[in-house]
Amino acid sequence: MPVATKDVLRLATVGSVDDGKSTLIGRLLVDTRLVADDHLDAVAAASERRGVGDLDLSFVTDGLRAEREQGITIDVAYRYATTPTRKLVIADCPGHVQYTRNMATGSSTADLALVAVDVAAGLKEQTRRHLVIAALLGVRALVVAVNKMDTVEWSRTAYERVVAEVGALAAVLGAAPVVAVPVSALYGDNVVERSARAPWYEGPTVLEALEASDAGAWERSCGARLPVQWVLRQPGGGRTYAGLVSGEALRVGDAVTLLPAGVETSIRSIRYGGRALDEAAVGIAADVELDDETDAGRGDLIATAPLPRVTRELEATVCWFGDEPLELTGRRLRLKHTSRTTPVRVRAIEGLLDVGSLEVADAEALATNEIGFVRLATAEPLVVDDYREDRVTGGFVLVDEASHATVAAGMVGRPPFATARR
C-alpha cells in the first residue's frame, strides 16, 4: 500500500467558556469516527460517574481530573484528525480569562481559528478578547460555528445577528476568509453530518469548511529565512548550518546574507537528513553549506532579500503572562528570538490595548493577561522582521531570569487595528 501524503492544517478553538468549544471538537472527532471505541467507552463511563448524561462530548478533550470535576478546559488539548487530503492538528483551547496564556500557546501555531459562539448569548467579551489575541498571533482564517442553534429553534434571524457581529469584528481585525456555519454541537447538526433543521442554510458543514480552507496560502513579501540552530562539521573540514526554513523556500545558488554580521555569500549546497536537495521548502529542517568561509554559529540568520533588519531596539506588542505586573523596574528578563537568547530591558511601556474598543490607553504597567505596546532594548543585536511579515523572525518570548518561566509572548511591530484613544 503506498503511503498517502497529506498536508497539515493546524487549527485552534476560540471562544468563551460554555459556548461549547470542547463539545464541538468532541462532536467532530466522534462523528468522523476518530475517537477509538475504548476512549468513547471511557468518556461514557466518566459522564455517568459525574452525572452529566450518557455522553459528555467535552470529555473527549477535557482529560484532566480537575477539568472534568469543574466542567471547564484548563489547558490546551491536542487532538488529531485526518480527512482524505488533510491531517488536522486541533488545539482545543481554554475559554477562561485566567488561562489566556494557554489559549495563546494553542493559537500561536495555528493557521485557522475555529470559533464557537453561543447563538443565544451572542458575541461575548471573552470571545472578542480571544479573536483579538488570535488576530495578534496571526491567525487569519476563521470558521465560525454559531452553536446551540437548537436552543433558538434554528432561527435564521438569530444566526444572522451573530454572523454580522463576528463579521464586523473580523473585518476590523483583518481576518479573512470568514466562513460561518449554524450548528448544534450537542446534537451533531452541521458539524460532520448535514442537518435538515436549517433548510435555509446552503453552506458547508464545519468539517467541509476545514477541508476546503486555504489557510495555508499566503502572499509572501519577505525573503527566505534560516535561523542557525546548530553547526554540523562535515567530513573533509566543511561546515553546514542547520535550521528550519521560514518565509520562502531556499535554493542552491541563492544569494544570501549572513546576519547580523552582514556577510554576503551564496548557498553552495542544501542537505536534508543526509540527502542533497536543490530546494528546501518552508518548514524543512535543512542544513546548508555556504560558498564563503564564515564564522556563523547558533543565533545567526541566513536570509535572502528583502532582508530583515538588525537592531537592538524593538517596538513590540506583548501579551503579559507573569504573575507580577510588567514594569520598567520589574524583574530581570531574557528574550528568546529564533535561536538567540539575550538579556533585555523594558525601555518604555507605550500603551495598553483595550480588547473591547481596540483603543490604546496610557499605562505604567501590564497586569497578567494584558496586551500592551513596549519598547525594548537588547544586549545583543537581533535580526527581525515585522511579525506580520514572518512569524518566525517576528515572534519572541520573554523569560524570567530567576525562575526561567516564560512570562510574555512578544511580536515585533504593532497590529494595524489598534487605534489611539482620543
Binding site: V3, A36, G63, V399
Partner: protein, 308 residues
C-alpha cells in the same frame, strides 16, 4: 501585503516531512539549550523512531547525548536484542537503569515476581536523572496516546521532585522552545508530540526502519486475561481457569511484559501493519495496556509522579 501573519505550516508540505522536520528542529534546539540531555529508549517503536531522528538531526556526527533504558526486568528478549543492536549500530552510549536495583536498595517496594513494575519505573528514572545530572530527557511519548498526554507541552517542565503540574505548565509560544531550568529541575522533551500511531508506522515504512520482531505477526502461546491476550512465558503464567492457546498475534506497544497485551493479527509486513493500524477501532493503549484501566486518570497520576 496581506493583513495578518503568514501560516505556521507550509502549504502542500507532505505530513511526514512536516512531522520529521519539526522533530529534528526540537532535537537540535534542546541539545543547544540544555547542558546534559539524554534520550529515553525503551526499544519500542516510538523510541526507535526517536533514535533514528536523533541520528538524522546530528549526522554526520554521532549522537551528542547518551541513551537511557529504564529496565523493568520484565522484558521481551526480542526487545533487548533490538535495544543492543540499535544502540550499537549508531555507536550510542547505552545506559541502563534497573528497577530491580531500586527494589534492592529499598527505594521502592517489591510488588512480587509476576506483578507489573510499570509504575515503579518513575522512581528508577528520576534517580537516574539525578545521578547523572541530566537537565533534559527526550521521550517518544505522543499526544494521541492518552488524554493526559494530549495536554502536555513539547518541552514539559519537571520540578526538583520530578513532578509534572498540569495546572502550571509553561506557556509554549510558536516553536520557541525554552528549556532552561534551575539545578535539580529538568525538562522532558517530546519530539513526536504531534505524531499519531499511524504517522509512526507510515514513517517506519517510508524509512524502512528496523524494529523488534514482536511488532509483526507471529505465533505464540497466549492466555486471555482482563480482555487482553498476554504472552505466556517467564513473566506470565496461566492462572486457574485460563487456557493456553497458540494464536497468531503481534504487539502494538512494548512495555512491562507482565501487563502488555498482544493483538490478534496477521500483519507480517510493514505495509500490512500500516493497513491494520489505519483500520483499527481500538486505541493502542486500550488494546494492550492493563495498567491504564485501573482509573480514569491513571496516566495523569503517573505523570504527576514523574513517569515518562
Amino acid at each position: 501585503m496581506t493583513a495578518l501573519a503568514p501560516p505556521a505550516t507550509a502549504p502542500g508540505l507532505d505530513h511526514l516531512d512536516a512531522l520529521e522536520s519539526h522533530a529534528l528542529f526540537i532535537l537540535r534546539e534542546v541539545v543547544a539549550e540544555c547542558e546534559r540531555p539524554v534520550l529515553l529508549f525503551s526499544g519500542g517503536k516510538d523510541s526507535a523512531v526517536l533514535l533514528h531522528l536523533a541520528a538524522k538531526a546530528f549526522a554526520p556526527q554521532g549522537l551528542p547525548f547518551p541513551v537511557l533504558h529504564v529496565d523493568t526486568g520484565h522484558n521481551f528478549p526480542e526487545v533487548l536484542d533490538f535495544r543492543d543492536r540499535a544502540a550499537a549500530r549508531l555507536g550510542a552510549r547505552l545506559l541502563v537503569a534497573r528497577v530491580q536495583d531500586s527494589i534492592d536498595r529499598g527505594r521502592v517496594a517489591d510488588p512480587g515476581a509476576l506483578a507489573s513494575r510499570n509504575r515503579l519505573q518513575s522512581v528508577t528514572l528520576l534517580d537516574a536523572i539525578a545521578e547523572h545530572g541530566f537537565d533534559a530527557a527526550f521521550g517518544g511519548a505522543r499526544r494521541d496516546e492518552d488524554k493526559a498526554r494530549a495536554k502536555e507541552r513539547v518541552l514539559s517542565f519537571r520540578d526538583e521532585f520530578g513532578q509534572w503540574d498540569p495546572r502550571r505548565q509553561r506557556p509554549e509560544l510558536w516553536r520557541l522552545y525554552q528549556g532552561r531550568v534551575n539545578p535539580g529541575e529538568h525538562v522532558r522533551a517530546f519530539p513526536l508530540s504531534d505524531w499519531t500511531e499511524l504517522d509512526v508506522w507510515q514513517y517506519v515504512a517510508r524509512e524502512r526502519l528496523d524494529l523488534p520482531s514482536i511488532y509483526f505477526a507471529h505465533e505464540r502461546p497466549v492466555v486471555r486475561r482482563d480482555g487482553m491476550w498476554l504472552a505466556v512465558g517467564e513473566f506470565v503464567q496461566p492462572r486457574d481457569a485460563e487456557r493456553v492457546e497458540v494464536r497468531e498475534v503481534r504487539f502494538r506497544t512494548v512495555g512491562d511484559a507482565t501487563g502488555t497485551g498482544a493483538v490478534l493479527s496477521g500483519a507480517r509486513t510493514l505495509e500490512e501493519v500500516v493497513a491494520e493500524v489505519a483500520a483499527a477501532t481500538v486505541s493502542e493503549r486500550g488494546a494492550t495496556r492493563g495498567d491504564d484501566r485501573f482509573s480514569e486518570t491513571s496516566m495523569e497520576d503517573r505523570k504527576r509522579e514523574g513517569y515518562f
